[in-house]
Symmetry: none
Subunit: 402 residues, 2 copies
């Protein structure tokens, strides 16, 4: 991608509409009968669309690099994922649906078990039940609401995990983890790695002391380990960079959070794929860019559940005709990264990609899957080029130079 300044100077506001449909982790490796999920699935509508589209394969970061959801999505949204690295704490907060502001410093927490000498003997407090976690977080929140002028916001996650947000002016990142990482060592405090983080370190360490005080009677959850301290990053919005009015349709908090980071409007999209497509239809007149996110292709990939991953993409396929009725000027269908069922996790393999618009060179790809996309006219390219390509096909980019 050309740099942000050039993109800014080329982008123009127009009436044309772009839909980016992301089937999370859709890319797969051959497994059942040597087929991938896309090859196995009955997806006549996606296949038909592929035969009328320009296809290819995209790399979220670069060859061999397996991305997390954060960097993989930033790439697709047109942001350099190396330049804009979002800290763990922020992603975790977004993941449980917290709303962050530019004054926030967030971190991930574990409840842990500490013995009488202050030695950590279980970094996960025996993986306490989520209900107990919720109760303990409420108790902590009641007792600890403010430290040195900063607001403290505590939210439970699953089992032993929680998130703390320190909200206040001048709280900077650059802090070591307050986590010994191994059992058999003492509880650890954070240390500022640069002078700007001094005040934040004081607040965090005071929080740790107060938390231990509150948790005294809560064994096994009688200590906290905090890590991944990160400030809410100030990203330029998609409006500023690309002159878009973008909206996000997603069911999971993490993706809503990521979309919000780049300035998308978050639409109420329920919990089903049906409701997501309905949301698109209902809001189609109000925005010029739609990010529609399908989560469960990834979830079932992570579970190693090939069959269910197939079912999800078959369900998505059913909604393609009504999406096409909206006549988007540009429609892209792709993944953010691959989640092969046989790997039960994200992988480094490129994403199948297709772009449908009036101004493409249709290629020889007749089916939407990994092997067919190899033959695509778009070749193999960086996911960070997807956004410029969509803008171009929507006639939203001026000529560069004269």
């Amino acid at each position: 991608m050309v740099n942000e300044e050039i993109m800014k100077s080329l982008a123009v506001k127009t009436e044309s509409k772009i839909v980016l449909l992301v089937a999370d982790g859709i890319g797969d490796l051959p497994s059942e009968n040597n087929k991938t999920v896309l090859e196995k699935a009955f997806i006549p509508n996606l296949d038909k669309l592929a035969s009328k589209s320009a296809c290819g394969l995209t790399d979220p970061i670069s060859y061999g690099i397996t991305p997390g959801s954060g960097p993989a999505h930033l790439s697709l949204f047109g942001y350099d994922p190396i330049k804009y690295q979002i800290g763990r704490g922020v992603l975790e907060a977004l993941g449980i649906g917290m709303e962050l502001t530019s004054d926030d410093l967030a971190c991930r927490g574990n409840f842990a078990t500490m013995d009488k000498e202050g030695i950590i003997i279980d970094r996960r407090a025996g993986r306490i039940a989520t209900e107990l976690n919720e109760k303990i977080c409420r108790i902590m929140q009641d007792k600890i609401s403010q430290i040195r002028g900063a607001e403290i916001i505590i939210r439970p996650g699953m089992e032993h995990r929680f998130v703390v947000v320190f909200r206040g002016k001048g709280l900077e990142e650059g802090l070591s983890d307050a986590d010994p990482q191994v059992v058999g060592q003492k509880l650890k405090y954070t240390e500022p790695l640069r002078p700007e983080a001094d005040e934040a370190a004081k607040i965090i360490n005071e929080f740790i002391d107060k938390a231990i005080e509150v948790l005294r009677e809560q064994s096994p959850a009688n200590a906290v380990l905090l890590r991944g301290f990160a400030k809410h990053p100030a990203l330029p919005t998609m409006g500023e960079l690309f002159k878009l009015s973008p909206a996000a349709i997603a069911t999971y908090p993490m993706y809503k959070g990521l979309a919000k980071l780049v300035g998308m409007e978050i639409l109420e999209a329920g919990e089903t794929i049906e409701k997501e497509f309905k949301t698109l239809k209902e809001n189609y007149q109000k925005y010029d860019f739609f990010y529609l996110h399908i989560k469960k292709t990834d979830s079932y990939g992570e579970d190693g559940n090939f069959k269910k991953k197939v079912e999800i993409i078959e369900e998505v396929d059913k909604y393609i005709p009504e999406l096409l009725i909206l006549k988007p000027d540009v429609l892209v269908v792709t993944g953010d990264h691959s989640t092969p069922a046989i790997l039960k996790g994200h992988s480094w393999h490129p994403n199948p990609f297709m772009l449908f618009s009036k101004y493409i060179r249709v290629d020889e790809v007749k089916q939407f899957n990994e092997r067919e996309c190899v033959k695509g006219g778009l070749g193999r390219f960086s996911a960070v080029d997807v956004l410029p390509l969509m803008l171009a096909n929507a006639l939203k980019l001026r000529k560069f130079g004269a």
Copy 2:
């Protein structure tokens, strides 16, 4: 490739094993019956491997750029060849098998002929015989062993060429060539191009004066021209960057030297292809990364000897089954650059490439050659991405971001 800091943070040590088989200069241009060397050769084992691999084409540097062996190999080893430029003097020293240390400043030398007025009248001293070169180098070495505290090491090359290494603390590069480049001009001294190189310049110029003194009776080899002054570069090792324990199996000094520069262990590999594969087998348990280098595909390419280049790759093909018996987790077969027989030299054409592992999307390539690899699922990519890709397929890379 992502930057070195990120690679460092993602790489993990595992038991899995990687073999990188480099047939030097294997890439070719169609000549005999419009076939390239790989198309002409009978290579059933490599073809069979291609049909089970992910294939593609790699560019050592970038489109149109013909690389020397140094940058082409650095790329394959995962080092940015633009960032790490190794000076000619160092490559020349490595090429004749000299062992360099971090205190060394090396240069290439020519014996030349100077007339009574000090004018250079032959820059190659009539291309004196290598035996005479060796004799003269011994005489020089006897008379000149130290200057201003620096050790002087002189080694003969072929014909009129030799190498001088200046070994001492604080000898820095940044020196002009002590070579008029054309005949009819006076013998030239080096000049420091930056203050740090002042001391080195004094030593080098004193060396030139002493050499002329020693060579007074050795006409036509009565002068020395020195160029390509370069310090032994301190590259991070493959162990530091990628957490590998790498070993090199090569028959030519230059490649052993390059491998040593990036921290590989150099295995005793004899002089034949048979012995090289035997060395791999014997040492297979001791390392987790093997670089196996076949030199003669390049040598015969440089000679324009199409037939012999075919024979060499056919010989390599015979050893593929016993390599596969070792069950490497990742096996890559490729070249470092192309050396088309009709060009009699290195060229800018991309390298045929195949990667075999458990976690690939097998593509439609059925034969290992330039034209087939165009259809490969890996597409056309930078050689500097080969190492990350091998690490990923060996499950030696963590996820980037969350």
